[in-house]
């Protein structure tokens, strides 16, 4: 059985915070915790396909959302994932007031700095629960 922690970002396309969620998660699963974590396409989860459901149902998940709508967290819960931590990008962004993070297409240097911080938070949680 695949016991890797599933880390799922919202990847919201309208604001930079969606990109930050996406890039922070990808940094975590590709670089920081590749042996303990993996991501699952949120769009696939949204389809409600049986196979998509089987990927996360009953699994430990960490969600990362870029806006208060909390789409990643809600969709994972609806599909049966166990959300161990629902990370909000804005919580970290608040600690960097006045900085420019980039656009929904490309992160600036400050944006990259913040996603590194978020990735470390995700990795810490992964190490706690795995």
């Amino acid at each position: 059985m695949n016991t890797k922690v599933k880390v799922i970002p919202c990847s919201g396309i309208g604001k930079v915070f969606g990109l930050m969620a996406r890039e922070a998660v990808l940094k975590t699963v590709h670089e920081l915790c590749p042996d303990k974590s993996e991501t699952v396409c949120l769009a696939y989860i949204v389809t409600g396909d049986k196979e998509a459901k089987e990927k996360i149902e009953g699994c430990d998940c960490i969600t990362v959302d870029g806006c208060p709508k909390m789409c990643a967290s809600k969709n994972v819960l609806i599909t049966g994932g166990i959300v161990k931590e629902a990370i909000k990008v804005l919580d970290t962004v608040k600690e960097h007031k006045g900085k420019q993070f980039g656009t929904p297409t490309q992160l600036d240097a400050d944006g990259k700095e913040v996603i590194n911080e978020i990735a470390v938070k995700i990795a810490k949680k992964i190490n706690e629960i795995s």
Binding site: S11, G18, V40, G48, I78
Partner: protein
Amino acid sequence: MSELKVGLLSCSGEECLGGTISRLATRKVLEELKMVGTVTLCLPLYLAGGEEERNFAKVFPTISVDGCDKLCAKRSTEKYSGKISGSIDVSKIIGNENALNTKTVRNEDLEPEHFQMVDEVASAIVKAISCISPDSCSGKTFRGCSCGGE
């Protein structure tokens, strides 16, 4: 007064390169290749209760942009909002092997060849938009994606 609007709904899949290309091509059309008033719609909001997203796709023509042949964006849009006006399967443009590449997914890992793929997909989106009847682009005012984007 009616506005010209077309919705673009990208899968933005996180598991493979196709998702990244779908996202970047959608953004490119939105930012650089303005033809009519294009807006992006957040796919996850469809299931999380985004009535505004669902209603937009019912009223305005919407084009899905999917990174692989699972066609998640297309199927979800049709499930919640009815028939869509166009569908782009990125894997058919850049090839299945590229689309399903799970190693190169992050923006920072992209090479010039990947941005060439973005351009090709963006061109396909523009072509799909141009195939939509102008009459079907007129509708009520829409304020944009609920997550705050354009």
